[in-house]
Amino acid sequence: MTTIEDLLQQPATVEERKTPILDESSKREIRRACLTAVAVPGYQVPFGSREMPVARGWGSGGLQITLAVVGRDDVVKVYDQGEDGGVNAANLRRLIRSAEPVTTTTDPREADVIQTRHRVPEDVLVDGQILVLQVPVPEPLRGVERDMTELRRMHAEADYAKMWVSLYEDIVRNGIITQTTGYPCLVGGRYVIATTPIPRWDVPPLHQARFLSLFGAGREKRIYAIPPHTDVEPLTFEDVPFQVEEVVEPCRCGLIQPDEEPGAYLVELPGQTGETVWACSDTDWCARRRLEAGLLGEDAIDALEVDL
């Protein structure tokens, strides 16, 4: 019989504190969807998206993949718009750690699984690493066709003429292709995918990458993948080259200057007096660079991992 004393007892080990969110058969179903997605790069695999302790649209798809693919003693990084300290990232990180026997980090180079919203780390990821992307709208053709049956036919027959027409129209109207995030890309020469809302800056690292990218859309119940060493070509015309975001102003720490290679993806922030300042979107990467440059104390890195 459970006594009050038992209930008040603190769990003896970390292991005992785990309260799994997904049961093993759910994990298996999600892993099978991931395997199918890897086998058919770019194809959107339907899966039985579960109710998560986060609202749909808040990373429930990415969370399910992460929970399903992590193994014992894996190291997990969760970040949001490049920021490890974002509220949603911190909550998801805590949730994952409470549910699975994993440790967490902010350094993508140490991580086995990196769950992200809207960014790919500036660091070069390597073999064996898995990037899990939270996807709001997995269907790249949603903007050009609404009929689901017709959408499936278009993907099945690789009939992407309407997508090309929308790019043509964009150039005619605006002089450039205006799609900034979620740029449509052809994966493995076959399926067009939406590269979630990652900026254009993050599209080239997906091409012939050494890591596995898994895209999870919880609300739309779809999983798709870019396996390692797969071609990812942004759709564009032969005479209209694909361009990434430019660094127009120096970064506030001064380490990123316009026209300097390799650069980084900067975001615009309001400054103290209402002026605009530019900052590296990837906070962990920026902190490490500033540390190397002697602009930051050692303890600043540890402070990055915000756990409320």
């Binding site: 027959e157 992407y160 003429a161 027409v165 129209e169 150039i171 005619v172 015309f237």
Partner: protein
């Protein structure tokens, strides 16, 4: 591109006059029953509804061939089955019987492939560069929210064009050929008049130099003076390009202007066929006589 298609040939093949499009005993039954349902329908019974099964016989036993560069007319009152024939050839509807051959579309052995037996995806692939359709309603053939240039870019990109400048140039060439003012090329087709929409549809249909174009009542929705202009244009284009055409219309003046040979359809059957001018002068079948009489007032 369909695996069945061979490099395209035009004009004379093997020293004999080639056929661009051949339709054999085409039939379409809406509703229950197979060929037995056809019994008791047709002009001699003056009905299209099967007395045995209640099925509607859209068309039955329709055969014709069109040579490269030839325009063939199909005329009949509304409900006579002429549009059904067109849609079965185009692949918008599945046929119940018969066969359709398009020059150059062969089975792996080299014998002509029956379009009606092709996989739906292969049939759609033919619509990119071999078989075009101009519909009576421009909304069916065009995306009205997209610009005229964009509508033409669709078949071009489907055929593999990936150079923005060349796509634009090709679209401009086609639009100037179909007499659409180029300064309106980037406006949504929604903002165009009916006659201009039809011209854009024509330009789109010609984008990839198809072998055969099917024109389904191309001027019916237009007022008389605009229709005359579009008809003139179609006639010139057919002469210039040497594309084979099938023109479906209920209007003898359209058929007379565009075609030299035509079929008359009634209750889903072909009741008479012949040279257009002879048929107009001297119709043999009572229904043709009625049609001509009505047209001549």
């Amino acid at each position: 591109m369909s695996p069945h298609t061979q490099p395209r040939q035009r004009g004379m093949i093997g020293g004999t006059a080639a056929t661009a499009l051949a339709v054999e005993r085409l039939g379409k039954i809406y509703g229950p029953g197979g060929p037995e349902a056809v019994e008791g329908t047709g002009p001699e019974f003056a009905r299209s509804v099967s007395p045995s099964t209640g099925a509607v016989i859209g068309c039955w036993d329709v055969s014709f061939a069109v040579a490269p560069g030839e325009a063939l007319g199909i005329i009949g009152e509304s409900g006579s089955g002429k549009s059904t024939v067109m849609r079965c050839i185009a692949g918008d509807q599945s046929a119940s019987a018969g066969s359709v051959n398009l020059a150059g579309v062969d089975r792996p052995g080299g014998t002509p492939a029956d379009l009606l037996q092709l996989a739906p995806s292969d049939r759609r692939a033919l619509r990119i560069d071999r078989l075009s359709v101009v519909y009576q309603d421009p909304a069916e053939g065009l995306d009205l929210r997209v610009s005229a240039g964009g509508n033409i870019a669709e078949p071009l990109t489907a055929a593999g064009w990936r150079h923005f400048g060349r796509i634009r140039q090709r679209a401009a060439d086609l639009l100037s050929r179909t007499e659409v003012p180029l300064d309106r090329m980037d406006d949504p087709v929604l903002t165009y008049s009916g006659g201009m929409r039809q011209r854009v549809q024509l330009a789109k249909a010609l984008a990839n130099d198809p072998q055969v174009v099917l024109l389904d009542e191309p001027t019916t929705g237009l007022d008389a003076s605009v229709a005359a202009g579009v008809l003139d244009l179609i006639r010139d284009l057919l002469e210039e390009t040497g594309i084979a055409a099938v023109v479906v219309s209920h209007d003898f003046s359209v058929i007379e202007m565009l075609t030299r040979r035509c079929l008359v359809m009634h209750h889903g059957r072909v009741v008479e066929e012949g040279l257009t001018d002879q048929l107009l002068e001297d119709p043999q079948h009572p229904y043709s006589q009625r049609l001509v009489g009505a047209a001549r007032g």
